[in-house]
C-alpha cells in the first residue's frame, strides 16, 4: 500500500520528465455548479493524459539489465502512450499489446513514440498474451495495479495542494483505480478533511460494484469512456476507496457526453469522456458543495478523436 512519502519521492524522481499541468479556476463552471470550481488540466500533460506520471515513476526504477531487455505493457488506451513516450525518452524498448479495435488515433500516437505494437483480437487475449510474456520472464508493466504507478499519479495530488490550498473537495474518475489511489493517498496524507469523490460511468463501474460487494468484482466494460474500461480495480485501490472515498457516483454515458460538450463549447477544451464524467458527477453532487467549497475536477485526459466526438454527440442526443 503506498504512502504519502512514496508520492513525495515520486515527485522528485519524475519531475524532469513530466509537465506540471495548470489548475484552472473556471468561472463558467463555478457559476454553473454554484461553487468554486477548478479544473486540473491533465489533457495538457505529455501524451494528452496523466499516464506518463506513473509510467516514468515505474520505468525509472528499472535496472540497467531490465532496461536493456525492454518492457512489455498492455493497454487499449492512454497507458500505451504513457509507456511508449517514457520508453522513447528513457531509451527503453517498449512492446505494447493492444486490442485490434483500439481507435486509430491511439495506435498512431503510440507508434509515433517508437513503441512496437502487437494487436490481439480481444481484451481477454490481451491479458493472456501479457501473462505469456510474464511466464517467459519478460518485464510486464501493469497499467494500474502497481505501487509505482499509483505513487506517480499521486503527484497530481501534491500539485493540487499547492495550487488550491483552500481545496475542500476533489472529484476523480476511476478506471482501474490507479489515479484515485495516488491522489487520495497524497491529499488525505496532507489534509485529511478534503473530501474525495470517485466517478465511473455505466458500463465501466468496477469500483462501484466492488464497493457494493466488498470484494473485487470483474466486469465486461461497455461504456464509451473506453479509458475507464478496466475489467477490475486493483485490490489496493478498493482498500483505499473504502478508506478514503465519500462515495462513487456512476453516470450514464449520455451525461459524460453532454459534459464533454459543455467543456468543449464553454471552456474551449477537449476532454475525453473519462475526464468529462467528473463534471457530470459534479452536477449530481452539487448539493454537497455550495459557495463555501472549493472543488477540483481532475480532467484526466483529452485523447479522443474528432470523429469520436461527433459520433458520441450524434449517438447520445
Amino acid at each position: 500500500m503506498i504512502r504519502l512519502e512514496d508520492v513525495q519521492e515520486a515527485r522528485l524522481k519524475i519531475g524532469p520528465f513530466v509537465s506540471r499541468t495548470p489548475t484552472f479556476t473556471s468561472r463558467t463552471l463555478s457559476e454553473q455548479l454554484g461553487t468554486h470550481a477548478y479544473l486540473k488540466l491533465e489533457m495538457f500533460q505529455k501524451t494528452g493524459s496523466f499516464k506518463p506520471r506513473g509510467a516514468f515513476n515505474r520505468m525509472l526504477r528499472l535496472t540497467d539489465a531490465d532496461k536493456r531487455q525492454g518492457v512489455v505493457a498492455w493497454s487499449g488506451g492512454n497507458f500505451a502512450q504513457g509507456v511508449a513516450y517514457a520508453g522513447q525518452q528513457l531509451v527503453i524498448r517498449t512492446h505494447i499489446i493492444m486490442p485490434e479495435y483500439t481507435p486509430k488515433n491511439y495506435l498512431e500516437a503510440t507508434q509515433g513514440y517508437g513503441a512496437e505494437i502487437e494487436l490481439v483480437p480481444s481484451a481477454q487475449a490481451m491479458l493472456d498474451e501479457a501473462e505469456e510474456y510474464r511466464r517467459r520472464g519478460r518485464i510486464v508493466l501493469h497499467p494500474f495495479d502497481d505501487p509505482f504507478m499509483m505513487a506517480g499519479n499521486g503527484t497530481i495530488g501534491l500539485e493540487l495542494m499547492e495550487e488550491v490550498p483552500q481545496l475542500t473537495d476533489v472529484i476523480v474518475s476511476i478506471g482501474g483505480g490507479g489515479l484515485m489511489s495516488g491522489i487520495a493517498t497524497a491529499i488525505k496524507g496532507l489534509k485529511p478533511a478534503v473530501r474525495i469523490w470517485g466517478v465511473e460511468t455505466e458500463g465501466a463501474d468496477a469500483m462501484a460494484q466492488s464497493l457494493q460487494a466488498q470484494r473485487i468484482v470483474h466486469i465486461t466494460p461497455t461504456s464509451i469512456a473506453r479509458t475507464l474500461g478496466a475489467p477490475y480495480v486493483a485490490q489496493d485501490a478498493l482498500t483505499l476507496a473504502q478508506r478514503y472515498l465519500e462515495g462513487v457516483t456512476v453516470v450514464p454515458d449520455r451525461e459524460a457526453v453532454k459534459a464533454l460538450q459543455v467543456i468543449l463549447e464553454r471552456v474551449k477544451i477537449l476532454a475525453e469522456p473519462a475526464a468529462s464524467c467528473t463534471l457530470a458527477a459534479a452536477e449530481r453532487l452539487r448539493d454537497h458543495f455550495g459557495r463555501d467549497r472549493h472543488v477540483v475536477l481532475v480532467l484526466c485526459g483529452g485523447n479522443i478523436s474528432v470523429d469520436d466526438v461527433c459520433s458520441f454527440v450524434r449517438d447520445h442526443p
Binding site: S19, P22, F24, T25, S26, R27, T28, E31, L41, M43, F44, G48, L264, E265, R266, V267, K268, I269, L270, A271, G302, V306, C310
Partner: protein, 324 residues
C-alpha cells in the same frame, strides 16, 4: 474617417498594475502552455485567453473599464458597438454587476452571435453597417446615455489587455518574442506597451490575415493605408483600415506585422485541437500560424490565443481538412 484628433498617450505601467488589481476577482489568469508540435521554427508557447469566461480576452478590458467608473455612474447602464467578443464580454460583466447593457450590432450580424449576447442579458440594437462603423469614430449613439466602452480604442480597455503581458513576463521571463492578433489594435497595443516598458529588447509582432491586413500595408507605406477587405471565417480580426489613433501607438510599439493565409490559420486551428486539445477561433490561431512561418526568428515565442468563439460547423469543416 477622421479621428477627431484623438490621440492616446502611451499606457503607463501603473495603469496596467491598477487594472490587474481591479480585474483579479473576475477575470481568469490563463495558462501559458507549450505548443505541442515538434520541429517548429522557435520554442512556441500559447497564452490561452480562449479559456476566459465567454471565451475571449476582451473580458479583461471590459472589466477594467467598468471597474474604473463609480457605481452610481453606471446607473444609466453600459453600451458598446460589437457583434462579437466585446459584446459578450461587456454583457457578462454588466450582468455580474447588475448593470443594464446594450449592444449596438451591424444588422447583418449572425443570429448565433446575437443569441449568445441575448443569453447574457444584454439588449440588442441592430443598425445599418455604415452607421455602426461611425460609432467607433463618434463614440455616441442616439438614445444611449450610459458608459460607452470602446472595443479597442480606450485606455482602460488597453490597460486591461496589458495585464496579459504581466502574466507572460512572470511565467516566462526569458521570452524573446510575442505574436498578437491585430484587429482594432487594442490587444496588441495594450500588451506591447507593457512589454516595451518591462523588457524593451523583446520582439513584438502583429498577426493579420491576408484577406484584410491594413497594418501590414500601413507599415509598408509609412502611413495609415486602406486595404480591400474580404470577409472570411476569421471574424475577430480584419478591417479595411487602421484607426489613426491606434496607428500612432502601433507603429511606435510593434516590430512588424506577419500576414498569414486562411490556410495557415485553418491549419493552426487544427493543430491546436489535435495536439493541445484546445479550441481557438481564427483570430486566436492566427499568431500560431504566424509563428509557424518562421518570421518571428528563433528563441522563445509566445502566441496570444485571443479567443475560442468559432462556430461549431466551421470548426468541424476545418478539422475535416477543409476551408469554411
Amino acid at each position: 474617417m477622421g479621428s477627431q484628433g484623438l490621440s492616446h498617450a502611451p499606457l503607463l505601467l501603473d495603469d496596467v498594475y491598477g487594472a490587474r488589481e481591479r480585474i483579479a476577482g473576475t477575470v481568469s489568469r490563463t495558462p501559458l502552455l507549450r505548443f505541442n508540435v515538434d520541429e517548429t521554427p522557435a520554442r512556441i508557447f500559447l497564452k490561452l485567453e480562449n479559456l476566459q469566461p465567454i471565451g475571449s480576452f476582451k473580458l479583461r478590458g471590459a472589466t477594467n473599464a467598468m471597474a474604473l467608473v463609480d457605481r452610481r455612474d453606471l446607473a444609466n447602464g453600459v453600451w458598446t458597438a460589437s457583434a462579437g467578443n466585446m459584446a459578450q464580454a461587456l454583457a457578462w460583466v454588466a450582468r455580474r454587476l447588475n448593470v443594464p447593457c446594450t449592444v449596438v450590432v451591424p444588422d447583418h450580424a449572425p443570429a448565433v452571435k446575437l443569441e449568445a449576447i441575448r443569453r447574457l442579458g444584454a439588449g440588442i440594437t441592430p443598425v445599418p453597417f455604415a452607421q455602426w462603423v461611425e460609432i467607433f469614430r463618434t463614440r455616441t449613439f442616439a438614445g444611449l446615455s450610459g458608459l460607452f466602452v470602446h472595443p479597442f480604442s480606450d485606455r482602460a480597455v488597453m490597460a486591461g489587455n496589458g495585464t496579459i503581458a504581466l502574466e507572460i513576463l512572470e511565467e516566462l521571463p526569458d521570452v524573446d518574442a510575442v505574436v498578437i492578433p491585430y484587429g482594432g489594435g487594442g490587444l496588441a497595443c495594450g500588451i506591447a506597451s507593457v512589454l516595451r516598458g518591462l523588457k524593451p529588447s523583446i520582439r513584438i509582432y502583429a498577426a493579420e490575415v491576408e484577406t484584410a491586413a491594413p497594418l501590414a500595408a500601413s507599415l509598408a507605406a509609412g502611413r495609415p493605408t486602406e486595404v480591400r477587405y474580404t470577409p472570411s471565417f476569421v471574424d475577430g480580426i480584419g478591417a479595411p483600415v487602421v484607426f489613426p489613433e491606434m496607428w500612432e501607438l502601433a507603429c511606435q510599439l510593434l516590430d512588424g506585422s506577419i500576414v498569414v493565409s486562411l490556410r495557415d490559420v485553418a491549419e493552426a486551428i487544427r493543430l491546436l485541437v489535435e495536439r493541445n486539445r484546445i479550441v481557438a477561433e481564427g483570430a486566436g490561431a492566427a499568431p500560431v500560424g504566424a509563428a509557424l512561418t518562421g518570421s518571428t526568428e528563433g528563441g522563445t515565442v509566445v502566441c496570444i490565443v485571443s479567443g475560442g468563439n468559432i462556430d461549431p460547423d466551421k470548426l468541424a469543416k476545418i478539422l475535416g481538412g477543409h476551408l469554411p
